[in-house]
């Protein structure tokens, strides 16, 4: 009697004895894989294809260049002194950069989530925008800013003498900019975590007489560990794989990290370039993997679930400290957003590079050129929009069930899979591009057509690269979720998909959206992956900007970059209009 496995078909109680046919049906339905197993299978296949396959292909190339097993290049590259130096440099800059990102991102997240600071929405908005500005642009504008000819430093009377070495061309400079560039990653993760923190947890501590700083140190930050780890891991991996900043700041100073070493290898003429590069990128992957492993050790088996529904926003009163805190926050925005943006805009408004911007030299000609005359720009906008939108949407849909499986089902297999899934994000984009070429240049088995030279190969590479950006924040959120919420839905007989749609997605929406925003913004003007994979008609914005810049049309490139930023701002602003209709916390910039 109590066995009524198909409630949908028998919504009302029936006293009639069940027929044997129904019995068989039940037996069948028991054997049929349930939704969760199905999702499990789909996700495993997905990760295998988008993450493990490219890495496996690279590994193959590293140990068997050109298809013949040969460990010589592997040993040669690994034992080269330059490899060791670059590895150490990579670790130093990535760790340093992560520390800065953590400090900056966490500070701002706390200020926004816990205090009665004003203008939060605008602040969050502005803090996320630097994700949109290519690292090269940021690095360049900072280099200009810190150098002997810096208008700012000259005005302040702090400019170093002409020709003095630019202080940013150093390990410290790289660390600083990596830290700034990836702070939004930490910010988004921590912010999402803070939203789920039950009010009573803080209140209990305050009742114990704990002051703000003490509560922060002993309750909030420890309870935010999953979010901090998630954000920190992202920042670390992004820093390990970053090329633009060490290329601009490190190469002049002779400071080589793994991605720049890889680039230099590619620019050489050796016959074993690809296998050399594969070896080096495996090293990068190993570093990232080690990072994740260390992080997961850090969290260990500790439990961060908090019982009870999250309460409304916490509002610590800042009192007199409010204005200073606000000023400090906006000062950070000026540094990380306004300055690079001004440099970018100024460049886009002059006829030729180096012409000082003045009322007479100002022109909108560059905009007219890229927007009206070069149809590739418009095409690139469409392509990038579709690619970034498609990738962030698909990954968001996959991240929620995947995160729930990882955290709740657990097991060594899933955990390793999850960690492996994160590695492609750390690989320099050009390497991922190479891996994609190696895989897809030949026609697909069975299907018989090739993805090469289509937009789909870029899409594939984006999925591989940005999976972790979408996944990490959600994993952090699931770790903080009371499992009873899912169990309560299970007992109603809700199928896996239904639960996913009605319980897990809405509950995890803020984290999932944070991940999607990250993915969208970073992929919208992605360059290094698509640089190898684009083909005529399939240009992306990053490619357009790079090609213009590379061809000496820096002013046009700047114009496209500015238009990109404007479009993103418009999109973000437009979504804010719908914020009311979405679950709370979905849009990080709509409070």
């Amino acid at each position: 009697m109590p066995t009524r496995p198909l409630p949908t078909r028998r919504p009302t109680r029936s006293a009639s004895p069940r027929s044997s046919a129904a019995d068989k049906l039940i037996a069948l339905s028991n054997r049929r894989p349930d939704g969760e197993s199905l999702a499990f299978a789909v996700l495993v296949v997905f990760v295998l294809v988008v993450s493990i396959l490219p890495m496996g292909r690279l590994l193959f190339e590293a140990i068997a260049p050109g298809g013949r097993l040969d460990a010589a290049p592997l040993l040669e590259v690994l034992t080269a002194p330059s490899t060791l130096t670059a590895t150490v440099h990579s670790l130093v800059t990535a760790l340093g950069g992560t520390a800065i990102s953590l400090a900056l991102g966490t500070l701002l997240a706390l200020a926004v989530a816990l205090t009665d600071m004003r203008g939060k929405a605008a602040l969050v908005f502005a803090f996320l925008l630097p994700l949109m500005i290519p690292p090269q642009v940021t690095a360049l504008s900072w280099a200009q800013l810190a150098g002997p000819s810096s208008p700012l430093l000259i005005t302040l009377g702090l400019a170093p003498p002409l020709g003095a070495p630019n202080p940013l061309y150093s390990a410290e400079g790289i660390i600083l900019l990596l830290g700034i560039q990836h702070a939004p990653l930490v910010f988004l993760a921590v912010r999402a975590g803070l939203r789920g923190l039950p009010r009573e947890m803080i209140e209990a501590a305050r009742a114990c007489g704990a002051g703000r700083v003490f509560v922060l140190r002993t309750i909030i930050l420890p309870m935010m560990t999953p979010s901090l780890v998630a954000g920190g891991a992202l920042a670390f991996v992004s820093a390990i794989g970053n090329f633009g900043i060490p290329a601009l700041l490190g190469i002049p100073a002779g400071y080589t990290v793994l991605p720049t070493l890889i680039y230099q290898r590619l620019a050489s003429f050796g016959p074993s370039i690809i296998s050399d590069v594969a070896v080096l990128s495996i090293l990068v992957g190993a570093l990232a993997f080690a990072g994740f492993a260390a992080q997961s050790l850090l969290i260990g088996r500790r439990d961060f679930r908090s019982v009870g529904a999250p309460s409304e926003a916490l509002r610590y009163r800042l009192g007199k400290a409010r204005l200073p805190v606000e000023i400090f926050a906006w000062a950070i925005i000026v540094l990380i957003l306004v300055i690079p943006l001004i440099a970018l805009i100024a460049t886009s408004l002059v006829s030729a590079y180096g012409v000082p911007l003045s009322a007479t030299t100002m022109t909108l000609g560059n905009y007219a050129e890229v927007l009206l005359r070069q149809d590739a720009t418009v095409r690139a906008f469409r392509n990038s929009f579709l690619l970034a939108g498609g990738a962030s949407l698909l990954l968001m849909l996959l991240a929620v069930p995947f995160a729930a499986l990882i955290v709740w089902r657990g097991g060594r297999f899933l955990k390793s899979l999850a960690m492996l899934a994160e590695v492609p994000y750390a690989l320099p984009g050009i390497v991922l591009g190479i891996a994609a070429i190696l895989i897809f240049i030949r026609p697909l088995p069975i299907l018989g057509f090739s993805l090469y030279n289509t937009i789909w190969i870029i899409f594939f590479a984006y999925l591989a690269r940005f999976l972790t950006l979408s996944l990490r924040p959600v994993v952090g959120a699931v770790q903080q979720l009371d499992r009873g919420l899912d169990e309560a839905a299970r007992m109603t007989g809700a199928s896996y998909l239904f639960r996913l749609r009605t319980v897990l997605f809405p509950l995890l929406a803020p984290a999932a959206a944070a991940g999607a925003v990250l993915t969208f913004m970073t992929s919208f003007n992605e360059l290094t992956v698509s640089a190898l994979l684009w083909s005529a008609g399939n240009e992306t914005l990053g490619v357009i900007v790079f090609n213009l810049d590379d061809g000496g049309f820096t002013v046009l490139a700047s114009a496209v970059a500015v238009v990109t930023v404007v479009v993103i701002v418009a999109i973000m602003g437009a979504t804010a209009l719908f914020a009311r209709k979405l679950p709370r916390g979905v849009l990080p910039w709509a409070n």
Partner: protein, 363 residues
């Protein structure tokens, strides 16, 4: 001396029409043990949170001794009030072990490790959780969690302790032993305690005074015995001790604070206060134990029987007043539908003011 003085406290959530706490005034003496009693959603938790400082007042004022802590433009933050609170949802910190949870307040005060450990052991022993020091909240049963929350509060050694249904999830035995713990703790430290509960027995057993709330208002504040025996109004009469309020007619005073009344066609002697009507129609508060099945009394029919272990609780319907159901405990075996005679051994004539319509229609 007054430890906590609440004057006209009002709390409104958002633009919601009804106030969660509505013009509440309450003076709590130093070292007093006051219980807040009332149905679910009546505003007990909210009042407690106002005292602790987690909610801001919409009106009125709260003073600790002479010190204004809330209202009149002031709001002293919770961490400056030295009040301990045990939350209805426990609010244990999942990232800390039991010992760390309990020792938190001591850490805040900068106590040395050894002393902290000693006090933690003590507090855990007091809630019978010795040996659980190194577990994490997720590895505890519901009741165990509640006791950890309790120990955390005890270890704080605060001036004022606020407890939000701290025993709701415990079994009778543990509950009795916790009650004992509270009483002993209260006696030892002389702390002022405000105790929210929906369990009357708990409130009766421990509190010096009980404030009965309903819909955000306080109906009566009095010592447990008074509240039980001489409720000031129908709300209290009904809420406390499974009471019922019925119509009767006062015949006249009978000396020794008693009056003679007519009820369901029978006669009875019941207690009356100075404010009770001296004659004419009146409202009578009855508790189950005031009624007994006997030879004399009014005629009634048994309508329901619920086994209660020590006795069976019957529900009777007086033949003179169809529709009125009264609880009646008895050791006897009576069957449903049986006609019995019911004697009224006691009762309390509500003050005349209580008749004025706030709580019309008998139960």
């Amino acid at each position: 001396m007054t430890a906590i003085s609440i004057r006209g406290a009002v709390k409104r959530f958002g633009a919601a029409a009804a106030a969660a706490v509505d013009d509440v005034s309450l003076e709590i003496a130093e070292g007093e043990f006051v219980a807040l009693l009332g149905p679910s959603g009546c505003g007990k938790t909210t009042l407690l949170r106002l005292i602790a400082g987690f909610e801001t007042l919409s009106g009125g004022a709260i003073r600790f001794g002479d010190r204004l802590v809330a209202g009149e433009g002031t709001h002293v933050p919770p961490e400056k009030r030295n009040v301990a609170i045990v939350f209805q949802s426990y609010a244990l910190w999942p990232h800390m072990t039991v010992a760390e949870n309990v020792g938190y307040a001591l850490r805040v005060r900068g106590l040395g490790k050894a002393e902290r450990a000693r006090k933690v052991v003590e507090a855990l022993a007091a809630v019978e959780l010795s040996g659980f020091e190194r577990r994490r909240p997720a590895e505890l049963s519901g009741g165990q969690r509640q006791r950890v929350a309790l120990a955390r509060c005890l270890a704080m050694d605060p001036d004022v302790i606020l407890l939000d249904e701290p025993l709701a999830n415990l079994d009778v035995h543990l509950r009795a032993s916790m009650e004992e713990t509270f009483r002993a703790f209260h006696a030892r430290t002389g702390a002022t305690m405000v105790y929210v509960t929906h369990d009357q027995a708990e409130a009766m057993a421990m509190a010096d005074r009980i404030a009965v709330m309903e819909k955000g208002r306080i109906l009566q504040v009095a010592a447990p015995a008074t509240l039980y025996a001489e409720p000031a109004n129908e709300g209290v009469a009904r809420f406390v001790g499974n009471g019922r309020v019925v119509d009767c007619a006062v015949v006249g005073p009978a000396g020794e604070g008693r009056s003679s009344i007519r009820l369901f066609g029978g006669e009875a002697l019941v207690r009356a206060g100075e404010a009770s009507p001296a004659s004419g129609p009146a409202r009578l508060a009855l508790k189950p134990e005031h009624l007994a099945v006997g030879e004399a009394g009014f005629a009634a029919t048994i309508r329901k029987a619920v086994f209660k272990g020590a006795h069976t609780l019957y529900e009777i319907e007086p033949e003179a007043a169809p529709g009125v159901l009264l609880p009646l405990p008895s050791d006897r075996r009576l069957s449903i539908g049986e006609s019995v005679r019911v004697a009224v051994g006691d009762g309390w004539l509500l003050p005349a003011s209580a008749m004025e319509a706030r709580y019309p229609a008998a139960a």
